[in-house]
């Protein structure tokens, strides 16, 4: 294909122009950090995001992200990873919209992992749309402007007289029109216009943004052609399955491979290099069985005899640890937010209501377990893997192999789910090391047992909230202690306190209009690999806070929804910068993304209205409500539950309202909210990873069950608030946190039984 907008090297003139407009982020030392640059046209968005602060920031270069072939095919680069959110479709949609391209003639290609080239590629933190909506639009507008200029030149008219319209440039006065394909070569010779001067569309002109199209992979997915991590096959490729130390921090002592080598199809058994804990995302090491197919490798692995030295975490026992955490939140601890005098207000209160909550470790269990394929030579490495951090994977693989990043190519496949697990590229490094060792292409497949035994787990957490109520029924004091091992322990050995990122996930930023608020964070040492799981610490924090609101309502004989609104208080911007030093606002500036109590109220009121809050229900049914701001979005959920005589629960209906500002693909927002309800249901009903002697006790979907279709809500209604030209905010994660407290509040309404410890297990029996 001929690139209409060739890479700069082909023309010195263009090179100069485009170089000026490639906006690099913080990692390019001394260069301009500009995330979503101001556009001059009145209609252009004028907010800033934190995109420029991400590693390698933002690259705005239409030559890189879009090309047009002579037949008119528009090819748009997706530089974020597709794991089910629809991002591989929605970001290209935004570009195509400004380009005025016909979606039927758009092709999407996946970028390899290369952040100096494409800008930050981390697909996590529910950030892709909020950081890339405007840059994608700007690149589309730049390309459109170049096409308009090329047409105007060829017709010898002023550029203002022509206009892009559905894959053509039209000169209305003369009725002339010419297709994008025919213009591509001429447009390619023009300089890229100044990004800041581009006119972006008014909302009313959008053809795709806010309306939506089916995901680009839909046909391939339904016909089995879609390619995931384990679907890459190279000539002479070897199949590897590993056994890893069962305790984090443990290491291999010896192994006996005799029986393994006797398994038909097994070719080799080799030691796999490991790193001491904690070492970021480096592999755990162990022993690899190499075979002609994965089935043989698994059978061979089962026949291995291995001796381990379990190391310092050999005593990790999650029951004992739970008692430790619960104890720690019953005592004063380091203060992370202090307003008024919560201790004094609690003493003076007419009533003090105390709630203690516990949430266990979780495993991600994306349907696709980790898998990666690597082909490594002495001087280069090529990887095919389902990774959420293609750029980080490239750097980590390069560093591990001692190669320059330029010698490492990361091909990003589709991800069969990620949920944060696939931000950690240990499996890609494993494949790279084995390929180098065996001097052959290698595919590493994790079994489900491997996935559950060697995850980067969701943290375990004890939360204790005391609320002081004065005689009038007003809540005057709020003291919340949260103890949970931090994911920083994966990066810095010995890290013990929640990082400012975790603290800011619905804990220190509790948005209530309460005069005396104190938040405390006791130490909590990690004894396993802690990672981030879809919505991260928002899950325990929202569970505690939103359960407590309903507990207060019950104690005061109030309606839980009214109590919730009263505690949020009047519509206002919460001055969090005053309350919390160095507050982390999901990496976004507070002026563009404030904590807006009005928006929080609005989603709560809206969902209550849509769910017909207060409606008559059959016996043993109940409604529960919860609202939470996370990933700078506002989500409220109402769950209707039915609890049978034996304590079995079913969910007849879920209503969720989301305010995520300006959005691209509403249909994918709905599917994310539907899925968040299912994930929430899984963690409430049965989600629990436990440890004994440092080993994970669960191993597959029989003892780590997740929700199935016969448990799923009968109806899930999703209500999307109008974008109103607000900056876009997160969608992938924020649906999860409010679900668990809404469900448990509903269970209380149905049965009078308050669930303070997840999962429910047999607590209702």
């Amino acid at each position: 294909m001929l690139h209409a907008f060739p890479h700069a090297a082909s023309s010195p003139a263009i090179e100069n122009v485009s170089r000026r407009h490639i906006l690099k982020g913080a990692a390019a030392a001394g260069s301009l950090v500009l995330a979503a640059p101001l556009a001059h046209a009145a209609t252009a968005p004028t907010y800033k995001t934190g995109a420029g602060d991400m590693p390698h920031g933002v690259v705005i270069d239409p030559n890189l992200f879009v090309s047009i072939a002579p037949d008119g095919t528009v090819t748009i680069v997706a530089h974020r990873s597709e794991m089910g959110t629809g991002v591989r479709t929605s970001l290209p949609m935004a570009l195509a919209d400004e380009l005025d391209a016909d979606w039927a003639r758009v092709k999407v290609v996946q970028a390899e992992g290369n952040e100096p080239k494409y800008g930050n590629q981390d697909t996590d933190g529910s950030r892709s749309t909020r950081h890339y909506l405007v840059p994608m639009r700007q690149m589309g507008a730049a390309a459109r402007t170049m096409l308009e200029q090329a047409a105007a030149q060829s017709w010898n008219v002023k550029p203002e007289e022509v206009k892009a319209s559905n894959h053509e440039i039209v000169h209305a006065a003369s009725g002339r029109r010419i297709g994008y394909g025919a213009l591509a070569a001429a447009a390619a010779k023009l300089p890229v216009p100044k990004i800041e001067t581009l006119r972006l569309k008014d909302e009313s002109e959008f053809r795709y943004i806010g309306k939506g199209v089916p995901i680009v992979d839909l046909h391939d997915i339904t016909t089995g052609k879609a390619r995931y991590g384990a679907d890459v096959r190279l000539t002479d490729m070897k199949y590897a399955v590993l056994v890893r130390p069962p305790v984090v921090g443990g290491k291999l002592v010896s192994f006996d491979s005799k029986d393994a080598l006797a398994v038909p199809g097994v070719e080799q058994v080799v030691e796999a290099q490991g790193w001491p804990w904690a070492s970021k995302f480096q592999p755990l090491g162990g022993v690899a069985v190499i075979a002609r197919n994965t089935g043989a490798a698994i059978k061979g692995r089962d026949a291995l005899k291995v001796v381990w030295d379990d190391g310092a975490n050999a005593k990790y026992d999650s029951d004992a640890y739970r008692a430790e955490l619960e104890d720690s939140v019953r005592k004063p601890a380091p203060v992370v937010r202090d307003e008024g005098d919560a201790d004094a207000a609690l003493k003076a209160a007419d009533k003090v209501i105390t709630g203690e909550y516990y949430l266990p470790h979780l495993a991600h269990v994306s349907m696709e377990p980790p898998a990666a394929t690597a082909n490594v030579t002495d001087t280069a490495a090529e990887i095919w893997a389902p990774v959420q951090s293609p750029g980080g994977t490239r750097d980590d693989v390069a560093k591990t192999l001692g190669l320059p990043p330029e010698a490492v190519k990361i091909n990003v496949t589709l991800l069969g789910g990620g949920f944060g697990r696939k931000s950690k590229c240990d499996y890609a490094i494993e494949a790279a090391l084995l390929s180098r060792k065996l001097k052959a292409p290698v595919r590493v497949q994790w079994t489900r047992e491997d996935d559950i035994h060697h995850d980067f787990y969701h943290t375990v957490s004890a939360e204790r909230i005391e609320a002081g109520i004065e005689k009038s029924g007003k809540v005057t004091a709020w003291r919340h202690r949260s103890a949970a091992p931090t994911f920083m322990s994966t990066f810095e050995p010995g890290a013990k306190t929640e990082s400012k990122l975790e603290l800011a996930m619905g804990f220190v930023d509790v948005p209530f209009a309460i005069p005396n608020i104190r938040c405390e964070n006791p130490d909590a040492a990690a004894h396993t690999r802690i990672g981030w799981f879809r919505a991260v610490s928002n899950i325990p924090h929202a569970f505690a806070v939103q359960s407590m609101v309903a507990e207060i309502a019950h104690a005061l004989g109030r309606d839980p929804k009214d109590m919730l609104l009263e505690m949020i208080g009047p519509p206002r911007i919460v001055d969090i910068a005053k309350s919390v030093k160095d507050y982390w606002n999901n990496g976004e500036p507070l002026d563009a993304y404030p904590i807006d109590a009005g928006r929080l109220r609005r989603v709560a009121e809206h969902v209550a209205d849509k769910a017909e809050w207060g409606r008559k229900l059959p016996a043993r049914h109940g409604l529960g409500i919860a609202v939470h701001r996370s990933f700078v979005s506002y989500i409220a959920t109402v769950v209707e539950v039915a609890v049978d005589e034996k304590g079995g629960i079913s969910v007849p209906r879920v209503d969720t309202a989301i305010d995520c500002g300006t959005y691209i693909n509403p249909e994918r927002i709905r599917s994310q909210m539907e899925g968040a309800a299912i994930m929430g249901l899984s963690l409430v009903k049965s989600g629990e990873i436990t440890f004994k002697n440092g080993r994970v006790q669960q191993s597959n979907f029989d003892d780590y069950p997740v929700a199935r279709i016969d448990e799923s809500p009968s109806v899930t209604n999703v209500h999307i608030m109008p974008g109103e030209n607000r900056p876009p905010s997160g969608v992938g994660e924020p649906g999860v946190p409010p679900f668990a407290p809404a469900l448990c509040n509903a269970i209380f309404a149905a049965t009078g039984k308050r669930i303070r410890r997840l999962p429910i297990g047999n607590q209702l029996a």
Binding site: I221, P264, L414, G416, Q672, G675, I678, M679
Partner: protein, 150 residues
């Protein structure tokens, strides 16, 4: 030597007769549309048809499919226009998509046995197929749609 047909083509396997069909399909034959999710018949990602019945290929040994007709997602319909596939697209069922070939094979077998399933039957028959992304409402709706003709 084990002989079988896969999507109408003759295949033979002279390796380990206990090898699960899943790995024969994926690694030995390159039919990667069939997915691995658990290896223990707990998730349905590996569902294929053997003699028209939905089976979990992860626990089905090669020796058990000798002389059988195996159909995978690649062979369900020559151009991907099986009513279940069409309904799946119509309702935009997939999120990450990884479980969906197994879901589609299970749903196709369900409808060929029982062309007009009740909602309860759909939930019962599909309960062996996990979707971690949580596409269940749409899966249910798509099977209803397929059962009424797309």
């Amino acid at each position: 030597m084990i002989k079988l047909t896969v999507n109408g083509e003759n295949h033979q396997w002279d390796g380990d007769p206990s090898l699960p069909l899943l790995w024969y399909l994926r690694d030995e034959s390159g039919l990667t549309g069939t997915k691995y999710g658990c290896g223990q018949a707990l998730c349905g990602a590996c569902t294929v048809h053997v003699g028209g019945q939905a089976v979990r290929s992860c626990i089905t040994a090669m020796e058990d499919v000798a002389d059988q007709k195996v159909v995978t997602i690649e062979g369900l319909h020559p151009s991907g226009e099986h009513p279940v596939q069409k309904a799946w697209r119509e309702l935009q069922v997939p999120q990450c998509g990884y479980c969906q070939t197994g879901q589609i094979m299970q749903a196709a077998a369900l409808l060929s046995d029982n062309p007009k399933p009740t909602d309860h039957q759909i939930r019962e028959q599909m309960a062996g197929n996990i979707c971690r992304c949580g596409c269940y409402n749409r899966i249910e709706a798509a099977i209803r749609l397929a059962s009424t003709g797309v």
